[in-house]
Amino acid sequence: MRRFQWRRLQPVGFVMPRRKVLATNPHRLKPAPRPSRSHAILFEFIRVCALAALLALSFNPLLVTSQKQSASKAAQESATAPKRDLSGLWHYESTGASEPIAPDNLIPPMTPWAQAKFATEKPGYGPRRAPGGNDPILQCDPMGFPRVMFLNTPFEFVQVEGRVIQFFEREHEYRTIWTDGRSLPKDADPTWYGYAIGHWEGDDTFFVESAGFRENTWLGSSGYPHSENMRITERYRRVDHDTILYDITVTDPTAYTQAIVGPHRIMKLRSHDELIEEICVPSEEKSFGERIAMPATPKSSK
């Protein structure tokens, strides 16, 4: 956008419109006497300098290069992460597809119980996929926790008194993380999303503990099982305004000989988005499976 047009410095061009007004409306007051030409040039020069100074002060950021702009913005963001506040929509920066809790080589050895379960699982996709896969989500069984964390669809934290509610776009699901100081119940009914409590460590890390999980869910798309004795701890650390560093540990001695420690995961804030309603509808899933997924699955898997 050109802010200075050198042609405007010419007083002749500036004065001419007034003459036209006078010509069309002779009853208007006569204009003030025109200054001499040298005065006009001086006045114009002063006017231009003042305008330039004003523009320099107010529009300076626009003259900065894009790199400088993003750097200053990033600095601003990292300096202003709110304390004890995770509100907003967050998006896990995954590979783009759903993934397991950890890569195969980081999953500890399974117990015989888990090994037997694992052998019966036929994922719908991935290296062990088979036609007629029996992944429970293929018939809209709830995805459950923590599997819902490792997707490419966002979630939202809403903080109110006594609880933090975590909404997942996938399946239009949610779980309540109680922050009112209660303990985990010893005999929580097993549910798909578990029973969760949380508290703050310092001002930037939200620590969540959960238990009471049904054993019907998989730990990820490749089919790792778990038992009802599974307990989970998570840390959501807001490292700057737009970034959470996420860590999860799963302890399930019935199924795994050691704890599963997930890799660090990054979640990014999506300030201007809202969750959309996305519900898994069994009749639609069934229709999709019959028409598209099954015919596309290779008959033999590795």
């Binding site: 429970p136 018939q139 809209c140 069984d141 709830p142 809403v158 109110v160 509610i165 909404f167 239009h172 699901e173 949610y174 009914d189 549910t191 798909w192 999303y193 959309i276 309603e277 519900i279 509808v281 069994p282 009749s283």
Partner: protein
């Protein structure tokens, strides 16, 4: 029993502890009887519907109005109605095709007339409404926005609300897909349906609920539902109860289908 102070302490503990421990129990046990009289005089908090509420219906899945009070249907709606085979009730048929029998979402407003509670949780810019049924939830936006003209039709719609005075929350909902029934007897609706509700907190424990459904594509007049009552259920928390098709399917095969009555005429 060595020293007097110690025995005195034990004596005090033995007498006071039962009194201390029993009093909350006594209060809780007495609460259901005391609550109605006490609650009626307890003023309602202003502009606040937080808590778990229970619709006072028949105890089963209710229709919003009795079938005979439904306004006349348009030909479009009548054709749809004729294809509906409820799973139970007077038009119940074996192999009913009520979408909820296969865990299609029950949708709005049908979910309001179920015997399971819901919870209001207000936040900064919205009131969240959590339903125990299906673990469903919807946000009611209170930030002054309008419902988008091109809202994608969804199972629970797009809702905005505002307060009338300090005791009545008015909610408008649009953008509902046409795949749900209005109630268990199979009345249909179109995507043009608009729902207006008024939640009036008349005292601490009571909401007077009024709902009107307008759908000229399906019904020649709006459906004005007679006032319903909702009662606060303190000390309760919503349970997780998703509809799981694989479980529902197993139940239908083992129990519901063999028990379905022939349609009554």
């Amino acid at each position: 029993m060595r020293s007097r102070p110690r025995s005195l302490l034990i004596y005090l503990f033995a007498t006071l502890a039962p009194a201390i421990s029993l009093s909350p129990v006594a209060r809780l046990q007495a609460a259901p009887q005391q609550a109605p009289a006490k609650a009626a005089s307890t003023p309602a908090p202003k502009r606040d519907l937080s808590g778990v509420w229970q619709y006072q219906g028949s105890g089963g899945a209710d229709s919003m109005v009795p079938d005979k009070d439904m306004p006349p249907m348009t030909p479009w709606a009548k054709a749809r109605f004729d294809t509906a085979k409820p799973g139970y009730g007077p038009r119940g048929a074996p192999g009913g095709n009520d979408p909820i029998l296969q865990c299609d979402p029950i949708g709005f407003p049908r979910i309001m007339f179920m015997p399971t509670p819901f919870e209001f949780v207000p936040t900064q810019n919205r009131v969240l409404q959590f339903f125990e049924r299906e673990h469903a939830w919807r946000p009611i936006w209170l930030d002054g926005r309008s419902i988008p003209e091109d809202a994608d039709p969804t199972w629970f719609g797009y809702a905005v609300g505002h307060w009338e005075g300090d005791d009545t929350l008015v909610v408008e909902t649009r953008g509902l897909n046409d795949r749900t029934w209005l109630g268990p007897t199979g009345f249909p609706h179109s995507e043009e349906m608009r729902v207006t509700e008024r939640y009036k907190r008349v005292d601490h424990d009571t909401i007077q609920y009024n709902i009107t459904v307008s759908d000229p594509t399906a019904y020649s007049q709006p459906i004005v539902v007679p006032q319903k009552i909702m009662k606060l259920k303190p000390h309760e928390e919503i349970e997780e109860q998703p509809c799981v098709w694989s479980q529902e399917n197993a139940f239908a095969k083992r129990i519901r289908e063999p028990a379905a009555q022939k349609p009554a005429k």
